[in-house]
Structures are given as C-alpha cells and as structure tokens.
Symmetry: C2
Subunit: 387 residues, 2 copies
C-alpha cells in the first residue's frame, strides 16, 4: 500500500468498478470529479495542497478501465504514487487555458463526442473550478451532455469499506485520548483561546495528522452557538465548556464533542447532559439496517424536545468519513435507509433555556445486527473541571 | 471590535463602499458571494464551520447600503456578532429548498427583477453551492442577469489594509518562532510524520489559532515534491528537510517554508540554498509599485534557471492573506501591477538534479518605496540539524 493511497489498490479498483456499474445503468459514459474527497475516493490522492484555491484538479472515471487524472503538473509526482497510471498535466496557473482544453479532450475520449458525463450536482456538492471555465468547457463540447451524476458518487461513498471504518475508528480513538486529557489544559481562568490551542496540541500528541476542525464554546449554563471560533474570555465557574473536533488521521475524520462543567454543574446542566446521553443511547439502540435517517432523527427528537420536529441547527447527526460531514442527514425529510458500513454521528442538542444549549455527539457504524460505537460513549454525568 | 469581525466596522463599510463604486461602474446591481473568504471579506464572519460541506452560505452586496446575509439558521448567532444587520435564515439542510428561494427573493430585492448580479467567476474562484441549485436559481430569475463580477472582488482583496497587513505580519512572526525551534523536534532518526506533528505543535504553542496547511519532505540532497503529506520515513544524514506552513492567526495566513540539512550539507545543497536566497533577495529588491508580477517572476527566474521561463510548479510566488494562496501569480503571463498594500510570497525553486529540488519562500508587503519583509528572511547558509 502506497502512502499516497491510504488503501490497497484492490479497493480503488473495486470502487471504480462499482461506479462503472452504476454509470452503465444511468447511461453515463464518464464521471467528472473536481473536489478533494471525490478525487481521493477513486485515486487515493491525499494532500493538504487543496487548501490553495488557485488550481483546479480533475479526475475522469471512464465507463471502463482506470480513472484518468487531468491535473496541474505540480501534482504529477504525488499522483504518480497512487494507482492512477494515466496522468495528464498542464503548467497551472495558465490564464489562457487552465486545463480546460486538456479536460475537454479527455472527456471526449472517455465518453465519446456525444456521450453523457455525470458531474456530482446535488446537495452537499459543488463544482471546484471557475464558473467561467465551466461555461467554456460546456461550449467546447456541444455534443457532450454534462449532467448530474444522479447521486451515484454520494451513494457509493455513503457505505464505508472495512478499511475506511478502521481508519475512522483510529481517528476516534485519537480524539478519545485527547478528550480524556482536557483536565490537563482547561480550568477556571484559562482563556478559551488557550484551551483551543491546548486541545489541538493534545490531538496532535495523541496521533492526529492534522486538526482541520475545532469549534466550541464556554458560557454559563450552556452556550448560544456551536460554530464559533474561540475568544479570549477565561473559563469561569458555572460555565459549560464544549469542544467539538474533526481531526484527521490517514485522511479520515472523526467528528464528536465533549461537554465539561467548570466546577460542579447546576441541576439544569446535569439534567440536560443526562437527557442528551439518553437520546444518544436511544439513537444508538435504534440504528440498524433498514431503519431510515428520519427514524433516527425522531427517536432522538422525542427525547430532547418531546417531538417538536427539530431545531435551528437543522439536524441531529450526519454521515462522516473523508469529510467532517457527509450524507445522510438525520432530519425528518431524509429517507435514506441505513446500510451496514454507514458511519454516522448522533448529535442531539437540548435548549437549557432560551439562547443556552448543550449539544452532545458520538460516532457510530451500522453493522448487520445493529450499531457499534466508534467513539467511546460518554456516561450520563457531565465531566467536571477545576473551577 | 467584535471577535467575530477581526477588523473595525469602518473597514467593512469601506470595503463595501469601494465594491459599490466598482459595481456602479460595471453596471452591477448586486454581488453574490458564496465562499468563505468572499463572505468574510465583507462581513467579518469567521468560523471553521466551512469545513462542513453540507450547507451553502450566501452574502449579497447591494448597490447601496450594507450586505445582506442569506444563511443557515445555525450561523445566525455568530453572524449577529458581525456588523451585518439584515440576516435571513432557513433551516438547512432542506432537501426541498436549501436557501434557493430565499436567495432568489433577496437578489431580486437588491438588484431589481431585471438587474445584473456579479458572481466571482474567473481564475481561482469557484461557486460554493450545488450546481443543481445554481441552475434552479437561474431558472427562478429569468429577468436577472447572473454574470461574472469582472474581477472586482479579486481586485479589491488584492490590496490589503493596514489592519490586514498587521495580522499577516503576526502570523508570519508565529511561524518565524516555530521555525526557530525546529531543532527541538527534528534530527536524524525522527520519522517525518512525527516532525510534521511536532511542528504543528510548535506553531500552536507560538500562537497559531490553527494550522490549515503543512506540507514538506525530507529526502537525500533535495526532494521530488512540495505538496506531499508526511510519511513515516525517518530523517537521515544527507537529507534536505523542508517544512512549508500556512498557519492562521485571527483569520489571516502566513505562507513560507524553511529548509534544513540533516547533518552537514553537501556542496550542491549549500550552493542551491545560497542561490535561492540570492533569487529571493533579487525579487525583494525589484518589488515596488508599478513593477508587474511578471517582472518579479523574470528577476528570480534568471537566477534560478538562467531564464528558462518557469518550471512545472508553474510560478515563483503569489498573493497571500485570508487564503493560503491568492492572486496575483508570479508567472510570465501575469501583468498585474504591484500596488502598495499587496502581500506576496517570493517562492523560487532550483533543481539540484533531475527529480531533486529545493524551494525557498518568504512573505513580503509592497510599500510606496519598495518591499518590506513580513517573514524574517533566511540567510544564505542552510540551517543544519543533528544527523
């Protein structure tokens, strides 16, 4: 297994073959992929260089055979360490033609001049190339039909392989160990921004390759927000501190949080935390093949709101894997049937009082007989930090 | 100044006013922005939650008055801490209508039913919303013209304010201190993956809020690649170790690297490093208002290749700020005239032998009289680590 791949070549061949079966059924002559997880899913191309928005990257999956990479020359060496053999490059950035003509040729070759090319276009996707280049590509290929992939890529990626599940489990274990060490870095008086820095250091010390995501808050009796970066306010007695991390190891995320009471919790906080754990355990118990994402939502929503049907956060969990958040969404409208190998977060929240909430999150994988924890589940009692 | 903003409100008002002057000249009734830096540039909305690809976020800049946020409800509280007062939300994800109708109404209100809406569409941009929702939006607004913004957003962002330059300088200082401590974490026998973890820890200890980007390599006499993640190979005598970081503090990046010789460098390595410093200093000396990005390229290219006109990496530096890489590009084709306030990287590379290169990078800001260093420039001698 090459370091650049993160999985054995057989797995990439298998993903490609399954995509091709679905492409055949959908009448697609090729798939065009432009985002980091889509390109990596079929190639194993793992780099943090996507942080630079300058250059577009393309992977074309033909109806038969291995994918073709159409990429900036700066990536040729790394792509050459994956299983992809057909690597076509240009010197990017090229203001006259930033890969568009090379991509147009490749699509025509793979799908035929009058074929159909699937492009992931539905929810949670985007096209990572300039809109003007996209328009130019469409103009250059008047016979070719550039169309939605019908959710094919989404559907394939939603079920994880044993290797992928193992990687997510390892990422969860890293976060488990980091969360267990929070008392080393957080107590009354420490600014939240220092807690955030310290927690990221713990994640790295425990084995994270990098820490793409950390959000959280610390506020009296609950917080108003779960997506804010840290400010410099010191932790204070009576605060609930929440840390929610998406760290990466070998290209796979975990995504879960932990709550801490700074000093002894008041009754409303400890009750709220216990209710969250009850909701999470109910979600876990209900999670099995054939149940829907919507069912899981309702099981937890009954416990955290009495069945109000949702909150402003919009969902009570989601898929997880090569991205921090992936389909499905645990919302009333999501009728996705759970299948063995799906990795999910369970993420119920309760409003302690208007404008003050607590949110809890765990990671699970769906197995034949039911669910299995990937994160080590919290007990009902909220952890307490020195005030 | 609010923690969510990162700049005083007057600065956001000023950016908006300057955009509106350019919009007026271009005949645009509104701007539609969908990506993290575009939204943050006009609003101050700073969150790591963009790591989740699930939800689209929109900011509409009208021809007059303050921008309007059209965002998922989960972001309302944080957006409420910025200067944006008109915040329109929906519960996302909504599979029936993920903000599209709310956005369509807002665009019609801001630009009029037959107005023109500028959308950043040129090089280095993308549209961060599903392609199917974009098509739906265009269908709902038959009178409205959704068109390129003519590079307006790019042009505005390219010149940094004194506040932005100060933030980038602070990020550079954090990286300077972390690079100075590399001998604490790297020597012969330490696996590169541990060096990467240790270096990210140093960045956090020295004051990074987070470390979105780290790439590098360690290989005998130079490396084949500058975008790879770390593997577990231990550093060995004769290696050149390169670490290239884009860390963030208060929402602004630095982007520069340092090279280290593991044990004493051989002559070719020390010569190559000295040549890189010579090229960087020549770039620095040439960088002043009125000179073009292309000119800077040629000044450095003459020294590193004798004037070959470039390499597979495609450029010898670029803009920097809210993103790791921003326009302009130091390439022959980029005729952007340097202006005071532009922040650039100078990033020459030399090929030591086929497949073995060394790349050096510094960060500078253009001032009236010339350039000023933001990173503390390296000397000609390559730093040496214990073998």
């Amino acid at each position: 297994m090459s370091a650049a791949q993160g999985a054995p070549e057989t797995e990439f061949r298998d993903r490609t073959r399954r995509a091709q079966t679905m492409m055949h059924e959908a009448g697609l002559g090729a798939l065009l992929l432009t985002t980091e997880p889509e390109v990596r899913y079929f190639s194993g191309f793992l780099t943090r260089f996507w942080e630079s928005p300058t250059r577009p990257w393309f992977l074309v999956v033909p109806a038969e055979g291995a994918p073709v990479a159409v990429i900036p020359a700066i990536g040729a060496h790394l792509m050459g360490r994956t299983w992809i053999a057909d690597i076509r490059t240009w010197r990017s950035p090229d203001y006259a033609d930033d890969g568009v003509s090379l991509l147009a040729e490749t699509l025509t070759e793979c799908a035929g001049p009058n074929g159909a090319v699937g492009v992931p276009s539905g929810g949670e996707t985007h096209l990572r190339m300039p809109l003007s280049d996209w328009a130019d590509l469409c103009r250059r290929l008047p016979g070719l039909r550039l169309t939605d992939d019908g959710g094919l890529t989404r559907s394939l990626r939603m079920t994880k392989s044993p290797g992928e599940i193992g990687q997510i489990r390892e990422s969860c274990a890293v976060a488990d160990r980091a969360f267990a060490r929070v008392p080393e870095i957080a107590w009354g008086g420490v600014p939240l921004s220092e807690v955030f820095r310290g927690f990221q250091i713990l994640c790295l010390e425990e084995g994270a390759d990098w820490v793409p995501y950390l959000a959280g808050a610390s506020a009296p009796g609950g917080y108003a927000d779960v997506i804010s970066p840290a400010d410099a306010r010191p932790l204070a007695a009576g605060d609930v501190l929440m840390l929610d991390t998406g760290l990466v190891r070998a290209g796979y995320f975990c995504d879960f949080d932990r709550n801490f009471s700074v000093g002894p919790p008041d009754r409303r906080v400890s009750d709220a935390h216990a209710r969250l754990i009850e909701a999470t355990e109910a979600g876990f118990a209900a999670a099995r093949p054939g149940v829907t994402a919507s069912d899981l939502f309702h099981v937890m929503d009954r416990i955290v709101t009495g069945g109000a049907g949702g909150s402003e956060a919009g969902r009570l969990g989601h898929g997880l894997g090569m991205q921090l958040t992936e389909p499905p969404s645990l919302i009333p409208a999501d009728q996705t049937e759970l299948r063995p190998g799906m990795v999910l977060t369970l993420e119920p929240g309760v409003e302690v009082e208007p404008g003050r909430m607590i949110v809890h999150e765990e990671n699970i994988v769906i197995r034949d007989g039911g669910a299995e924890w990937l994160s080590t589940p919290s007990g009902a009692e909220i952890a307490v930090l020195d005030a």
